[in-house]
């Protein structure tokens, strides 16, 4: 018995995406011997109450699975020194017991940019996202742009933001508009809406990336690979640190170059990283780049403006 861990989700764990992968983290903690509980669809106004209630009921670990929870965690952190609050895709810590974890969006965005540019025949690639201006969003997009240009300096990268990360139909239309423009690789970082990108790619027979291996199954020929976020590993690692009293108010950014977890990985299926249709030479290039990242040989710097919409 490791203690009690609760997780709060901004949406529903049905979403086959962001909340679903977060839920995998909770499943992993349970397997590791934690008593678990969770709340879904936690709205802004209810965050403080939800965090506080779990803490009051003696939960040792309370995880908020989106950056939005950081604000509330900072509020209640001080009241419950014995509880550790972890915010997934947060961007900072506070005091001794409020920490953030995230994976390094720049690395995976860059890898995706390189892959896209190498696969593109039209010299145009796209990306569909939500929440313009958020650090983890512009990190991935900025890096995507840089990666693509590192392969082909003249490549055109068009980015579209949609209003709601859960709206698959809207994402599909955005992706189709990119396809209409000529893009033949569409990336993105969406929640339930990611499926829309994949449907669009399937319909136009172009490449895209998904967010979990489940999404490969939607369009096996069109999904180049998935950026599978390892929230289970990250939360498990963070939980171990927290139990050992070493997490503190840290901001843990997991990447290919960090111990414990790589934060995410490229996966096409459980046993292969890339779509078998991708030429081995390209696969080799991307894998080599992964190794460079792992060795700390490449650091990507991204600023907010790199995530701008449009070209």
């Amino acid at each position: 018995d490791e203690g009690k861990a609760a997780m709060l989700f901004p949406g529903s764990i049905n979403d086959q995406s962001w909340n679903a992968v977060g839920y995998q983290g909770l499943v992993k903690l349970k397997a590791a011997g934690w008593d678990t509980a969770y709340s879904e669809n936690v709205q802004s106004a209810d965050e403080v109450e939800a965090l506080r209630d779990y803490a009051k009921r003696g939960f040792d670990l309370v995880i908020g699975h989106t950056g939005r929870f950081l604000s509330a965690a900072e509020r209640v952190g001080g009241e419950f020194p014995k509880t550790t609050f972890i915010v997934g895709s947060g961007s900072g810590g506070a005091g001794k017991n409020v920490a953030s974890v995230d994976f390094d969006n720049t690395q995976f965005g860059y890898l995706m940019g390189v892959l896209a540019a190498k696969l593109s025949k039209t010299g145009k690639i796209g990306s569909v996202n939500g929440l313009e201006g958020l650090p983890n969003v512009y990190s991935q997009i900025g890096a995507y742009r840089q990666g693509a240009r590192s392969v082909n300096p003249k490549i055109e990268v068009k980015v579209i933001y949609i209003k709601d990360m859960e709206d698959a139909a809207a994402a599909k239309e955005a992706a189709l508009s990119l396809a209409d423009w000529g893009a033949d690789f569409i990336s993105g970082k969406l929640n339930a809406a990611q499926a829309g990108i994949i449907q669009a790619a399937k319909e136009r027979n172009i490449y895209c990336n998904g967010r979990s291996t489940d999404q490969t199954a939607i369009a096996p020929t069109n999904v180049a690979t998935n950026i599978v976020e390892k929230w289970d590993e990250m939360y498990a690692a963070a939980a171990v640190e927290a139990k050992a009293g070493k997490l503190g108010g840290k901001y843990e950014l997991y990447g290919l170059d960090t111990p414990g977890s790589t934060g995410a990985s490229l996966k096409y299926s459980p046993d292969s990283a890339f779509n078998p249709a991708i030429p081995p030479a390209i696969v080799a290039d991307v894998e080599a780049l992964e190794k460079t990242f792992a060795a700390g040989g490449l650091k990507i710097k991204v600023v907010k403006e790199d995530g701008h919409g449009g070209l």
Partner: protein
């Protein structure tokens, strides 16, 4: 369009031709008017819980444990009560404004957008008020929220009067715009640099709404809401403006006959309704979040409409209706946390409760005074 709230002259009898008359049944069950109305509402809520017990059972939880958790979550400790009261506050404020609009037959469903811009304006003041004394800063921020909400609603009123676009449409569309305006502000100058979520920096302690009891989150917003409700009730029944609103709502032709200007009424009541929603937005950021944060206004507008209609557009009745929503939601959230009932059931309970309560009210509301 006629009054969506008051019904036409309808007789009290029980046994006309046509569809089965549930009223007759209830009438035989019930005894006295006021008591009967309350009784019906209670029966309705119990019925909703009974119906929702089925899916709870299916999900493998005990309904009794779940409902106990709900009760406990709503009323179990002062903390819980405080949370529920805080939740009810924006509902009450918004609903009072909506109720006044409905009284004049103006269908303002723009609460969400008005709350959003209200919160935005209040946050701007809170972030920029420098070293003003605390009380002054808070009052200024709330006033800014109210003014912004009022102007936002005022746009719909002006479009209605000058271009004949029905306010149902314009307020609905302005909701989307208002919410995006907040995102835009957070993406721009008002956003907190490097934050993992679109949000502004925290406000200074000085501009946060004071709490009523130290150590508890219950903020003064509730008091403001109650005072506002009292004022609205007074306004509606005891002032010339209130009379004008009721006259406009009772009959546009009669209002014209009495020389009451439709334009004046629409502008006045929309500014008022929008102002109250904007105030609710200000209270929400200053009292609950201590910052402007994306999504803070989500769903409040529609809940406000539901509360106002549930209260049959009576300002005083808005208080129990708003509390009903606040406590039901607070309890249902606790139920999810404590018993692990899926959050979806929280919505099921809410949905059924509202439908059943509406049915009970529908049977009663035949002689509403305007």
């Amino acid at each position: 369009m006629k009054d969506p709230v008051a019904l036409g002259p309808i007789e009290l009898s029980a046994s006309e031709a046509g569809a089965p008359d549930a009223g007759a049944l209830f009438q035989r069950l019930g005894a006295h008017n006021g008591l009967r109305a309350t009784g019906r509402a209670v029966v309705a809520v119990l019925l909703a819980f009974a119906v929702t017990a089925i899916p709870i059972l299916i999900s493998g939880k005990s309904p009794i444990a779940a409902y106990w958790a709900l009760l406990h979550g709503a009323f179990g400790s002062f903390d819980h009560v405080a949370f529920a009261l805080n939740k009810s506050t924006p509902y009450i404020l918004t609903a009072v404004g909506v109720a006044l609009c409905f009284r004049a037959q103006i269908i303002n469903i723009g609460g969400e957008g008005q709350i959003a811009v209200g919160g935005l304006a209040a946050s701007w003041v809170a972030l920029n008020c420098g070293d003003l004394p605390s009380l002054l800063a808070i009052v200024l921020a709330l006033a800014a929220g109210a003014v912004a909400g009022a102007l936002w609603a005022g746009i719909a009123a002006v479009i209605r009067l000058t271009r004949g676009v029905h306010e149902v449409l314009s307020t609905l569309l302005l909701n989307f715009v208002g919410v995006l305006l907040v995102s835009e502000a957070l993406n721009g100058a008002m956003g907190e640099a490097g934050a993992g979520f679109p949000q502004s920096p925290m406000f200074d302690e000085a501009v946060r709404l004071p709490t009523l009891f130290s150590g508890y989150d219950l903020h003064v917003g509730l008091i403001i809401a109650l005072v506002v409700t009292g004022c609205a009730q007074f306004l509606l029944w005891r002032t010339r403006f209130g009379f004008q609103l009721r006259l406009l709502g009772g009959s546009r032709a009669a209002a014209a006959y009495a020389g009451v200007s439709f334009a004046g009424g629409v502008i006045g009541v929309m500014l008022l309704g929008g102002g109250l929603a904007g105030l609710a937005g200000g209270i929400e950021v200053l009292g609950v979040h201590y910052r402007l944060i994306e999504g803070f206004s989500l769903g409040f507008g529609f809940t406000g409409v539901a509360v106002a209609l549930l209260a049959a557009a009576n300002p005083l009745a808005v208080v129990p209706a708003g509390l009903f929503f606040g406590f039901l939601q607070a309890g249902a959230l606790a139920m999810q946390r404590e018993v692990g009932v899926p959050s979806s059931l929280v919505y099921v309970i809410q949905g059924f409760s509202i439908v059943f309560v509406l049915c009970a009210i529908g049977l009663d509301r035949r002689w509403q005074r305007v």
